[in-house]
Subunit: 145 residues, 2 copies
DNA sequence: TACAATTATATTGTACACAATTTAATTTTA
DNA sequence: TAAAATTAAATTGTGTACAATATAATTGTA
């Protein structure tokens, strides 16, 4: 009943539900993020900035698993929308400082409702969510070893 | 110690490790997929075709959670590489039939080594992998309700 | 201290990903 | 059965992703 190609069946691959789940969840964010004029990637960049107020492209890249090829144009868009400022560090001109503006800070007040709206969307139990959360971070840990 | 903005901390968001994990795992596939001249998305499309031999864009989209805007150019590339054929259905000319070629069938022999190589890369225990797998499919199920 | 190596960001090119729209074929229905 | 609705792909436009390369600043070292 089983052959050497079973491993290639899509239902035997862990990567696929991961990929699909990630995309489908992000899709559910769209209507909420549209209201505050952010894409998903812009949103997670803002999450870091709402915590840190000020950071660098390098630091953002490390935290978000993104490189400058993705971040440079994205941050220019956030700057054009007035949510952040970009300027080179005086100490070390290689570093680009990314800083929240007042408008960016104010956006936090609207964004604060999003996690609640989303958890209504994904009706996973508290325990299951916690379990999923720790498994995912465990994989991320294993990958960065 | 906690305030109303805690929910916006990136470590309190389930979506983020999902997004990051998905991307990081896909990155690990790249060296293996490069050897057989496939991208990750092309690979999962081939997974379906290796199972079904023949399908439609619609069916592929349903199985892979992708739309024609992604699939049309992707399938044209797979056709250009000689792995598949694309032709309209005689029964219903709206449907585009996607069919594995001999070359596409032969590629399966090389691809069969990939899942093993990948599981070496991600050293998650059998139980944990199973747990993660079922949680992810549970979320996908909840999302499609 | 010149110069080689490293580091941080930006740029270029390719490939998704998806919303919105268009086109063409088929089905439903008035 | 002709027009309306639906369906399946394709197209268009915007926004990531990321590898590879380039550029400029800083650091390490012979």
């Amino acid at each position: 009943m089983s052959d050497k190609f079973d491993c290639l069946k899509i239902e035997n691959q862990l990567c696929f539900p991961l990929y699909a789940c990630s995309k489908e969840i992000i899709k559910r964010y769209k209507p909420f993020l549209d209201e505050i004029d952010l894409t998903y990637t812009q949103y997670i960049a803002m999450l870091i900035l709402w915590e840190e107020k000020k950071t660098t492209v390098k630091e953002l890249g490390t935290r978000l698993y993104l490189d400058s090829g993705t971040l440079t144009p994205l941050l220019k868009k956030l700057e054009a929308k007035g949510f952040i400022e970009r300027k080179r560090s005086d100490k070390d001109e290689r570093n680009l400082i990314v800083k929240l503006t007042n408008k960016g800070e104010e956006l936090k007040e609207q964004a604060v409702q999003i996690p609640d709206k989303m958890s209504c969307c994904v009706k996973l139990g508290k325990d299951e969510a916690r379990q999923l959360y720790s498994l995912l971070y465990r994989v991320l840990g294993l990958l960065s070893e």
